[in-house]
Amino acid sequence: MRYNLAVSIGRIVSCVSTVFHKGAGGTWAGEIALRIYPNILKDLTHKLRKGIILVAGTNGKTTTSLMIKKIIESQGASVIHNASGANLLNGVVSALLLSTNKDWGIFEVDENVLPILLSYIEPKMIVLLNLFRDQLDRYGEVDAIAGKWKKSFSTLTEKTTLIANADDPLITAICEQLQAKKVYIGIENSSLYRKVMQHATDTIYCPKCGTRLTYGGFYYSHLGKWSCGSCGFTHPDVTITSKDYQCPIEGIYNQYNAISAAAVGVVLQFETTGIQSALASFTPAFGRMERMFARGKKVRIVLSKNPTGFNESLQTYLDSKDKGPVLLLLNDRIPDGTDVSWIWDVDFELLDEQKREIIISGDRVFDMAIRLKYAVTNLERITIFDSLASSLDAALAKTQSDETLWILATYSAMLDVRKIITGKSIF
């Protein structure tokens, strides 16, 4: 009875919010349904014909989920997934409320929500991308999250397959000694090793015995070919590598997303060519290397919300054949994390390699200004704006017709700037 009531009211709320352009279901419907009937999740997931695939990790959840969706849909199966960012329980429930007669549920889940979700459902697969420091004020320490994951995974059976990033020692440690099946992915391409280790690393000491790990090479942050010389904990053999599948978008982090998504296809026994062509037709999710036009100028928006993500965004920007100025936007609202200390873990010194125009704005623009003051030598090429709209105007004006304006922004700033460019809101 409560279940039916919860579902009905949830669906009505969902319709209303869609009519008022509040986005695809968002989180309200799920929130209300959960309050009426807290066990709704268990009942709703039984409606899916094939099962649930969860995607977790600090960076890459949205892109990977959408890649998985693309791969599964290319084989003719139907999929429900949660809206990007709506990755708490209420977001998952909202998505499920709208699903009638679907084969698969693909959900990206917040790091803290994963253990809670596992107490309700038994997924077919869990994709574990990576663990990096992220919004310490909200998530706490990386090791604390790893501990919670490990504990919640202990109840999994061999009905669940973990698709795990072998290049991340902490993810590998979490996956040890579990009943669940495991499929390891990794880059396995030494030509992509970085010359020096980045500062923003979290797990370079053995998660099992505490000895400093030795690395054959780093891909980014602490991801690489690692091993522990003391306790013998070693990078596991991988089934799927970056040589097996081509990644449709730039950035080494997207290679991880692509092979993790491909691994889901492999587990489902799809043919390699099918997986490859689904990936090739992939277009980025909003704000994730998304290409747009603003007043006739080419724009790329890259969500950059933590040190590792920002480092990779900067590197991708500098390496890309699409040259142009960069607009850096730093907000400190709840979805961004209220603590902006993390910008000091980002290697903005990279911007000194090329003398491009830098425009900055956001709620904490002065914090960003100070960070850049201590990072780059040529301060004249930095322009500071209080107003986001003015910063976009100036940045577009500085973009030549054959150039691309790159916008690297924290979450709420990304939504705001996208809204100015498209003239409408996503949520």
Partner: protein, 254 residues
């Protein structure tokens, strides 16, 4: 004369949780902009005592519990006694976030284990369990300084620190929790060392504290007062004042 300073950074690979290294960048640049040569050396497993004694300014950041366990015995047995001697003799230092807990008398972790600190700072820290709320948020602290009397920062800690009789607080908490959320004290000052719960790049919006540390380090090394060239800190003070205003600091005063 070309002045030179060596900054020693405690376990940089293990104790740098959330932008802590910003303080190192800031100290180094502010030295360089004034023509003071600045060398950064790690103080960790590879450091021998003769290197440690060349250090003129100390810095320590925060560490996660696991990282702290990895380094604690090396710190206590090898580095600690020399560090204590240096600090007692007046070597200045800045310890943010978790490192002050290691320098105090003891630290009780969330599961009730009591770790012995180096006993340099007369204070004890207690974590009353992981289910207790952490102290998280922006803070404003009034300090005894000749230039500006405020410092701004961000705190994020589970432990509560209580100062002993022989030690002074760094300042008075106006906004935020500070040492324990009870007695309005924040951080501690012992000899020329500052401990604060403000984590991450504490010096970025507090250039007066950065310059005080550099001055003290030069004074200790060269046994005379060396006037520091004034720098353009307009951005730093804008960021500082923006936070004061946003947190309603002036409103509380009047």
């Amino acid at each position: 004369m070309n002045y030179k300073l060596t900054i020693g950074w405690l376990y940089p690979e293990l104790m740098s949780t959330y932008g802590d290294r910003g303080n190192i960048f800031i100290l180094r640049k502010r030295c360089q902009w004034r023509g003071v040569d600045c060398k950064i050396i790690p103080i960790d497993f590879s450091t021998v005592n003769c290197q440690l004694s060349t250090v003129n300014l100390l810095f320590g950041g925060g560490a996660q519990d696991r990282q702290q366990t990895i380094l604690i015995s090396d710190l206590q047995k090898r580095i600690g006694p020399v560090l204590k001697q240096m600090i007692d003799n007046g070597t200045p230092g800045l310890f943010v976030c978790g490192s002050p807990q290691l320098l105090g008398r003891s630290y009780m972790t969330g599961d009730g284990t009591v770790l012995h600190g180096l006993g340099i700072f007369d204070m004890v820290t207690k974590h009353f369990g992981y289910d207790k709320p952490r102290c998280i948020g922006n803070m404003v602290v009034e300090v005894n300084s000749q230039k500006r009397t405020t410092v701004v920062g961000f705190e994020n800690h589970g432990g509560r620190t209580y100062l002993g009789k022989s030690i002074k607080p760094f300042g008075k908490v106006i906004i935020g929790k500070g040492n324990n959320g009870e007695d309005k004290t924040e951080g501690a000052v012992y000899k020329n060392c500052i401990a604060t719960y403000s984590h991450g790049p504490f010096l970025s919006k507090n250039p007066h504290i950065a310059d005080w540390l550099i001055s003290q380090a030069l004074k200790q090394k060269y046994h005379k007062t060396i006037r520091l060239k004034k720098l353009d800190d307009a951005l730093e003070w804008k960021a500082h004042d923006y936070m004061l205003k946003r947190l309603g600091y002036r409103l509380i005063l009047r």
